[in-house]
């Protein structure tokens, strides 16, 4: 203990035990998986730099918690300073939720919490314990069919590069839940918290209007 404690009563995390110059990528991934740090989405694994290891639960929140994600109960080990976007992508492998700015300024990370659109990059995972969370993966029907907003995105050629699309879709789904027959302006307002750097805004509006009305919007 003498050489690896930091005066705080627990050892400093040593990520170098997983990553060293001599370690192959395969060994690295195995190491993380067997250490229990994460399970899925191996290509996206990160070693949450800058966070302290140790219990952290001795005085503050309990790190082991249960999330209700897409109707499933998911037990997960969450740091006190971890955002929901981090947990979804790097702990639960739900990489459909994108991280653009990580500052609540782009909307790529939009998920539904209690049916309401939220930036998962600006939400602490500990603050949504037990509340229903819906990500883009959760829109899939029981037989793998697409949600009507997703289908309309395809039919109306909504996305261009597609990076912001999961967030745009989640905002649209939240809108249509609350207001199934929106005007184009109401859709514009509901999607105003989602940036699209390709500038495909009008295509997105077409798609959401098509999802709402079931009718083709764009001109041939």
């Amino acid at each position: 203990m003498a050489d690896n404690t930091n005066g705080r009563g627990y050892p400093e995390p040593r990520f170098d035990q997983f990553v060293s110059k001599a370690t192959s990528r395969r060994q690295f991934i195995k190491g993380v998986i067997f250490s229990g740090a994460a399970a899925t989405g191996a290509g996206y694994l990160v070693t949450l730099g800058g966070c302290s290891g140790g219990s952290g639960s001795a005085s503050g929140v309990e790190r082991l918690l249960t999330l209700n994600v897409n109707g499933q109960t998911r037990p997960v080990d969450v740091l006190p300073n971890e955002t929901l976007a981090m947990t979804l992508r790097y702990k639960l492998g739900l990489t459909g939720t994108k991280l653009g700015c990580d500052r609540g300024e782009c909307g790529a990370c939009t998920v539904l919490i209690d049916g309401v659109a939220n930036y998962s990059c600006s939400t602490l995972t500990h603050a949504v314990r037990g509340r229903p969370i819906m990500t883009i993966e959760g829109l899939e029907g029981p037989n793998g069919e697409l949600h009507k907003v997703q289908q309309a995105m395809i039919d109306e050629l909504g996305p261009q590069c597609g990076f912001c699309t999961p967030g745009q879709i989640m905002s649209a789904v939240a809108l249509l839940e609350a207001n199934p027959t929106p005007t184009r302006d109401e859709v514009r307002h509901a999607l105003s918290g989602n940036l699209c750097r390709c500038g495909a805004y009008d295509h997105y509006l077409n798609a959401v209007m098509r999802a709402a009305t079931g009718e083709r919007v764009s001109q041939a």
């Binding site: 302290s52 929140v61 006190p80 300073n81 955002t83 990580d102 939220n118």
Partner: protein, 334 residues
């Protein structure tokens, strides 16, 4: 420098106000009260503020909701989301000014998680300060915005005192115009402060924007019956309609009498945001307009009087005609 993961902290989630005040009192300068997080997480991710203990107020049910009070006013819990304030039928029906202001804050998602208490308690948005430099507001001895090359397009017209940052809130001017009262709970119990005195400039304390002392929590905002159902005007001008903080915003509450077309202004409160470190109550405009016919001439005179004494910085001269026009419109269209 890593700018993605917040530095480590211990998280506490009390379910009562007393619990939160107790925790914040124990942690002192190392503690941080967290509401919606839209302001806090930027500080944490940039590693500019690194509190050891974060107290999440989001689980305190008593801090949420909109209630009509016995004296005919309305009390809004500080942790009520901006979306809830915007959509509340009581607020829309009686204090539309506040609903209109809440609707113009940031983006839909930020209004869903952002709280009215957090919106009025957010820190200065001067980008030099946010970047983590050792400016006056951060405890240093330089203002980086008020230099020959300093980029100060968003900064103040009045009240510069070493710091030239402005009040960034959209709801704050509306609350001052409605003569709201802020309810604060701290280790010494509860106290109430008028919205107008809640915000403080650098001449009073350069390191904070409100009268909140360390360990105190804003618990509720009370809107008095007096301005219920008055005539209102809110307008915000920003570079983008979503996300951006105001370049200038204006909030007016007005009582008029007389037939349409020949109305007289009996009472008025008018407040501008983003022109000073506090929401600027335009008392000169109030004096010019009170008792006068609500005409184009009065509105024009009001606009001219609003900008007297404005002291622009290098890049924010445009705010003077902007404020003048907003005041003119507010008097004309309220």
């Amino acid at each position: 420098m890593s700018r993605d993961m917040m530095s480590a902290f211990e998280l506490y989630q009390p379910d009562t106000v007393d619990g939160a005040v107790d925790l914040l009192g124990r942690f002192g300068a190392e503690g941080w009260a967290l509401a919606g997080g839209n302001d806090s997480f930027d500080w944490f991710k940039d590693r500019v503020k690194r509190p050891k203990y974060v107290v999440d107020l989001g689980g305190i049910a008593a801090l949420k909701g909109i209630r009509e009070s016995a004296d005919g006013g309305v009390e809004i819990g500080a942790l009520t989301s901006l979306t809830e304030v915007e959509q509340s039928s009581v607020v829309q029906g009686r204090y539309k000014l506040l609903a209109d202001a809440a609707r113009r804050v940031a983006s839909p998602q930020i209004r869903n998680s952002g709280t009215i208490g957090g919106n009025v308690c957010q820190d200065a948005r001067c980008w030099y300060y946010r970047y983590g430099v050792d400016c006056y507001r951060a405890g240093g001895n330089t203002c980086y915005a008020d230099t020959p090359e300093g980029q100060n397009r968003e900064h103040c017209l009045w009240g510069a005192d070493r710091c030239v940052a402005v009040s960034p809130s959209d709801t704050a001017p509306a609350l001052v115009a409605l003569d709201a009262t802020m309810v604060i709970v701290g280790p010494g119990g509860q106290r109430e402060v008028k919205a107008e005195e809640f915000f403080i400039g650098p001449n009073i304390d350069i390191e904070r924007m409100t009268v909140l002392e360390a360990g105190e929590v804003l618990t509720a905002i009370r809107l008095p019956a007096e301005w219920s159902g008055a005539r209102f005007y809110f307008e915000k001008v920003a570079d983008r309609n979503t996300w951006d903080f105001p370049l200038v915003n204006i909030a007016a509450a007005m009582k008029v009498s007389g037939a349409a077309g020949s109305e007289t202004v009996d009472a008025i409160r008018i407040v501008a945001g983003a022109v000073q470190c506090v929401p600027r109550r335009l008392t000169v405009v109030e004096e010019v307009v009170r008792g006068q016919a609500k005409t184009a001439a009065t509105a024009s005179l009001a606009g001219q009087s609003a900008v007297r004494g404005a002291t622009p910085l290098n890049f924010n001269h445009f705010k003077i005609p902007l404020l003048q026009n907003l005041v003119t419109r507010a008097i004309r269209d309220a």
